[in-house]
């Protein structure tokens, strides 16, 4: 017996040439692509007047001065919990959509999907559809092939540069940066960011495509754990389609005539002919950007882009069969076996029953609660704020006349666009006196849009109870004299103790 040569453990990428398709989901995806790309490319150019001293870019992550601007909202570094809250909401939203509708993120909104779709569009415009592309691949590298390939690559590169270029505009004033970029005056980090984003966009959208989803992205594996048998996802109605067979004209008129009265009867494979609805035309496979066969069932490679639904529906209506052989369906919606008497009265569960389940209700509730909490927190934010760090090295200072002094590092934030005079005071059940370093009248000028560190002294006289007790509660107040707003923070006064 001859030794079997060991098989290769590595496989070259099989090129995929998705065929053009039209239909509801394809149109939906064009709209979503237009919307998401439009937002991405144009948002940095939207202006928003915030008055003097503040940037007028609507969405800006100002890393240098550590501020994040989003239209009327301004986030300071100490308010990072808003960003954390947004991330939690994004996570919960993803759980919600995945548990209800499967991998809709992958199929419609993931940048990898959207940009690949855009690159495929360019490819199709230049090289032609699937068959022309396959011919071109096999063709010799003559002038025409070079011309088509170079044109395609150049356009891809242009899109990539625009993509990398749009990214950096989110981090500094867009018009200024664009001018600096052109005159070569921009910071090196801007050029490096653009170069990296350009390279990844060009490579991932043009050449890596489904390889990114299958081998680089963790999400396909994570999502399998979030879906269940009730999740609506792109699938093949095997009970309806199998066994597959070549289409024979006129053989299925009865079904199209609509004489049947129940769901199953309408869709019933014609048992007497021995074949199901699937005519094995390979339309679903040819349009698939992942190069898979949805009829093999749920698989990790499927990004649920739903283009196979459009392709199959098109074929079904051409051969006079009901649409939905490939469809958004729940895996649990399988009719009883043919022999069962219940089959005649079986119908799939309504969609709302799939979507409304404890998990999705829980996700929606949590999502809504966090969202409401964040909106509330956003609206009760004050223009002025303070944080108090008691100096605990040492815990107290004895003055020469025997009084006890505590020192506090108070950070005063003036979030308004103009310089403000802040007045400090304290409230406590005990007798305590407040003083400010470098100010005689308990007032301090805080510059616009800045945090000021102010050293604050609180003193108890020798005979006061606070001087000899361990701890005394007090509250430090800050008041914006002009705007009549104030804020306070509770803290402690340390005495000599027992």
């Amino acid at each position: 017996m001859a030794e079997t040569p060991p098989p290769s453990l590595y496989a070259a990428r099989e090129p995929i040439f998705p065929r053009r398709v039209s239909g509801f989901f394809r149109s939906l995806k064009w709209w979503i692509m237009g919307l998401t790309l439009g937002i991405y490319y144009l948002l940095p150019w939207v202006r928003w007047d915030r008055g003097p001293n503040l940037p007028d870019q609507a969405v800006l992550a100002d890393l240098a001065s550590r501020r994040f601007f989003f239209f009327w909202i301004e986030i300071w570094p100490h308010e990072f919990y808003f960003v954390a809250g947004l991330l939690i909401m994004a996570g919960l939203g993803l759980f919600l959509f995945t548990s209800a509708l499967g991998r809709v993120w992958c199929g419609y909104a993931c940048p990898q999907t959207v940009w690949t779709d855009l690159f495929l569009l360019v490819e199709r415009k230049i090289e032609g559809d699937r068959n022309a592309q396959i011919r071109l691949l096999k063709a010799k590298w003559d002038f025409r092939k070079w011309r088509l390939r170079l044109t395609k690559w150049l356009i891809w590169l242009g899109i990539s540069v625009a993509t990398g270029g749009a990214w950096v505009f989110y981090f500094t004033d867009a018009p200024t940066l664009l001018r600096d970029l052109v005159t070569l005056d921009a910071a090196a980090v801007a050029y490096i960011s653009i170069a990296i984003m350009t390279a990844t966009t060009f490579l991932f959208g043009g050449f890596m495509r489904e390889q990114v989803c299958i081998y680089m992205c963790p999400w396909p594996r994570i999502q399998a754990a979030m879906m269940d048998e009730g999740t609506l996802t792109v699938g093949y109605r095997e009970w309806r389609g199998e066994p597959r067979g070549k289409h024979r004209k006129g053989a299925r008129a009865a079904a199209a005539a609509g004489t049947a009265t129940t769901y199953v009867e309408t869709n019933l494979p014609e048992a007497d002919q021995g074949t199901g609805d699937c005519i094995d035309c390979m339309a679903c496979v040819n349009v698939c950007p992942m190069g898979i066969d949805i009829r093999d069932g749920q698989q990790m490679e499927c990004i649920t882009c739903a283009l196979c639904i459009d392709a199959c529906d098109d074929i079904m209506s051409k051969i006079g069969k009901p649409r939905g052989l490939i469809d958004y369906l729940a895996l649990e919606d399988v009719p009883p076996p043919k022999e069962s008497p219940e089959r005649a009265t079986w119908s799939p569960r309504p969609i709302w029953k799939h979507v409304l389940k404890p998990r999705t209700i829980l996700y929606t509730t949590l999502w809504g609660l966090i969202g409401a909490g964040m909106v509330f927190a956003l609206f009760v934010r004050s223009d002025i704020e303070l944080t108090v760090s008691p100096v605990r090295n040492p815990t107290y200072v004895m003055q020469s006349e025997g009084s006890i002094r505590n020192i506090y590092d108070v950070r005063l934030r003036n979030k308004s666009g103009e310089d403000r005079l802040f007045h400090l005071s304290l409230s406590s059940d005990e007798t305590l006196r407040i003083e400010l370093e470098g100010s005689n009248d308990l007032s301090v000028l805080v510059p616009a849009n800045e945090t000021l560190l102010q050293r604050v002294y609180v003193t108890a006289r020798r005979q006061d109870p606070a001087a000899s007790s361990n701890r005394t509660d007090l509250r430090i107040w800050v008041e914006d004299v002009e705007a009549q707003t104030r804020a306070s923070t509770a803290t402690l006064f340390n005495g000599k103790g027992e």
């Binding site: 090295n393 003055q399 020469s400």
Partner: protein
């Protein structure tokens, strides 16, 4: 291939090709990795080799290879420090010749002085005075309003520059309290302790204090003044306040009177730059106890 013996081994259950490896009848499926993955592994290896040539990497007996780029973390820190110093040169020059009493009028320079003074303090002063400047027994607390040698800006800067009772700087503050154990009789000391305690409002023996008052007037008032308020010109502590550098209990006072104390501070004028001295004086002054500066002399 036409030879049926050479067919790929296929797993019956999954229909996936196997590697041909079999353990107790369990076969290993072959789900091949993409080839670009293999290439990216080779690329990282090439990158790593290039990296070890460009950067310090291979350990030798004395140190390591230096790398073609000549990079070192020490060199980077040194360059960083140089860059900061160059960037601050102008401010430091301004600070070195500034009048500290009016420095707070120049907000930016004042803030620079406080924050750079804080850094100087933590590096050079905290060993004795504590990182929070609260001092310790024998090392003055710089947060309170009690100053041995004066607490306005110029006085603090002078003390930092020249130090106290050291032999390195001719302009250092100097004074020396005699060890009264060699001057007074042993029995004279406890009454003196009681009198000194009475001055600062501590609990005391009235009968003994009355006796001690006389020896205080004879021996101590030259420096500590008749009312015991001390004299910042001589670094003589105020004995009437609540603050005791070496402790106010009877044992500590007896020790102080009998053997005297001789607290030393080195001069920092030579070790720190003039800008650093000015900065640290500004920092210490704003810690809580800084005294008002004298009005400028007008002609």
């Amino acid at each position: 291939m036409s030879d049926p013996e050479n067919k790929k081994p296929i797993d019956d259950v999954t229909g996936i090709e196997t590697t041909g490896h079999s353990w107790d009848g369990i076969e290993e499926l072959n789900n091949p990795l993409p080839r670009w993955w293999l290439w990216s592994l080779y690329l990282t290896i090439i990158w790593a080799i290039g990296y070890t040539i460009a950067y310090p990497a291979w350990p030798l007996i004395n140190g390591a290879t230096e790398g073609l780029l000549g990079y070192s973390t020490r060199g980077e820190v040194a360059a960083d420090i140089d860059a900061r110093e160059a960037a601050n040169a102008e401010r430091n020059a301004e600070l070195a010749s500034a009048d500290l009493a009016t420095l707070s009028d120049n907000d930016a320079l004042y803030r620079y002085a406080v924050s750079s003074g804080a850094a100087v303090f933590r590096t050079n002063c905290s060993q004795c005075h504590g990182s929070g400047a609260a001092g310790a027994i024998g090392y003055p607390n710089l947060l309170d309003d009690d100053w041995l040698w004066g607490g306005n800006h110029e006085q603090i800067a002078y003390t930092v520059r020249h130090g106290v009772r050291n032999e390195d700087d001719d302009d250092a503050h100097y004074s020396e309290m005699p060890a009264f154990g060699e001057i007074l009789d042993k029995e004279q000391i406890p009454p003196l302790v009681e009198y000194v305690r009475s001055l600062s409002g501590l609990e005391f023996d009235a009968a003994l204090a009355e006796v001690g008052a006389d020896s205080f007037a004879d021996n101590c008032t030259a420096c500590h003044a008749e009312d015991g308020m001390g004299d910042p010109e001589q670094g003589a502590p105020n004995l009437t306040d609540a603050i005791w550098l070496y402790g106010g209990d009877r044992e500590a006072l007896t020790h102080t009177i009998t053997y005297s104390r001789f607290g030393v501070m080195p001069p920092w004028g030579g070790r720190l730059s003039e800008a650093q001295v000015q900065a640290v004086a500004t920092y210490v002054h704003q810690l809580g106890g800084g005294e008002a500066d004298p009005d400028p002399v007008t002609d």
